[in-house]
Assembly symmetry: C2
Homo-oligomer: 260 residues x 2
């Protein structure tokens, strides 16, 4: 199998499937089919992409240019076993935390196409700004995946499974966990009828500064200043929030250790 | 004491003193003097503001329009006791986590002028975008502080000490702790020679999304999906980083609880 990829099948109808499908479509790749076990979500995505829909692995289009597994990590192993696509088709998964070899043995051509971003359906994201990490089982497939990636993003990187899984772990820590800290802040503020919105300029600057001057140099606040009196006061203020208090203690301790 | 404030003395020469001094100056308030115990930092700020410098509390300008205590929380109590300024002068501190009453009894006119932002000297910030929280010991002083605040920022809020200290606590959790998570991510990436920079689009979107759709709805990643297998794998990958592993476990547990 050679040549440019111009047709795709999307397996899955979650957040990544949704954003990827629409962006491929905008970039001139025809999404011919959406496969999903849940008819409701799958059909909705298929209709919005003007693609066919199926919930049956047997009825998958056999000869699309590329097959994107945009399903939950746990489901990948099960779903690939059911695939009856032509042996020469290109099959990729889109999961940061899953080894490429999990999908080996199904087709001769396989790889990974991982967009390093947090996707929610409510939220438009600009794919051209998203780092796309590609990996493939041979040089030819890597070339084809890179070519495809460059049609949707300006930031394309070749990366092996091991490095990609480290990057994904770092992304979980930095992104998902920071989002949770904002949720904790919202929790405390809500109980005093204070608006989370007031923290927005601070959070935008926090991220901009961390990348501009390194997070080590960017750190401010009671822990890095060694203001133990204020930390004690904060923990007393958190007495009705035992879990947030635990997070406060652990991260403050860690900031202090990190500094020394 | 009445009328518009047109001269200021800055006590301190740290990050807030630096940014506040320059922004007041730009906004047409003359900074007449900088007081600081360390001559080196104090003189540097004074020179850049074309202001006088002193390291002696006795030699403080007695009749400036306003005195900003931009010093560390711990030093506020000690420094205010040494102040020999006129009793009718307006004295404010700039600390989110300190009660206004800590500076009562020095002058008849006092308050708080707290810029809700993270300041580092290496980094320019636009004061007009920073929420400024003001509080004063009477209505007249509050009016004067608000007027002053509105000359430097478009986002001025009246807020009592109790609410301000909650907001400051929320800011520490959301901002300082998120910055530390980015530092943890950098740590892991460095050891694999991977660039932190790759996480920038993700982090910018993480913050934008949390404020656009609420952090509860914005959450993604293994914990909120209940992907225990991946969480176990991540913790195994963190075996050489026992402290980051501890943070991983605690916050993941908390995300799971928070969801239910």
């Amino acid at each position: 199998m050679t040549g440019e990829i111009d047709t795709a099948v999307i397996l899955g109808a979650g957040n990544i499937a949704w954003h990827l499908g629409h962006f491929l479509s905008k970039s001139g790749i025809t999404v011919v089919q959406v496969y999903n076990r849940s008819r409701e979500h799958g059909k909705k995505l298929a209709i919005s992409l003007k693609a066919d829909f199926t919930d049956t692995a047997d009825k998958l289009e056999k000869n699309a240019g590329i097959y994107f597994l945009a399903i939950s990590d746990d489901a990948i192993k099960t779903v690939v076993k059911q695939l009856t696509i032509s042996k020469d088709r290109l099959l990729v998964h889109t999961a940061g935390g899953v080894d490429m070899n999990v999908i080996s043995g199904i087709t001769e051509n396989y790889g990974v196409f991982y967009p390093l971003q947090t996707f929610s359906k409510e939220r438009h994201v600009d794919f051209t700004q998203i780092p796309l990490l590609v990996e493939a089982n041979n040089t030819e497939n890597l070339g084809r995946l890179k070519q495809l990636a460059l049609t949707v993003s300006r930031h394309v990187y070749e990366m092996g499974s091991e490095d990609r899984m480290i990057l994904h772990l770092a992304a979980v820590i930095a992104s998902n966990f920071s989002n949770h800290l904002i949720a904790c802040a919202e929790n405390i503020l809500k109980d005093r009828k204070l608006a989370l919105e007031m923290l927005k300029p601070l959070m935008v600057e926090t991220v901009a500064k961390a990348f501009a001057v390194t997070p080590g140099k960017a750190q401010t606040g009671p822990a890095v200043r060694g203001n133990f009196k204020l930390m004690e006061k904060h923990m007393a203020m958190l007495r009705s929030y035992p879990e947030i208090k635990e997070i406060y203690r652990l991260i403050s301790d860690n900031i202090i250790k990190f500094k020394n």
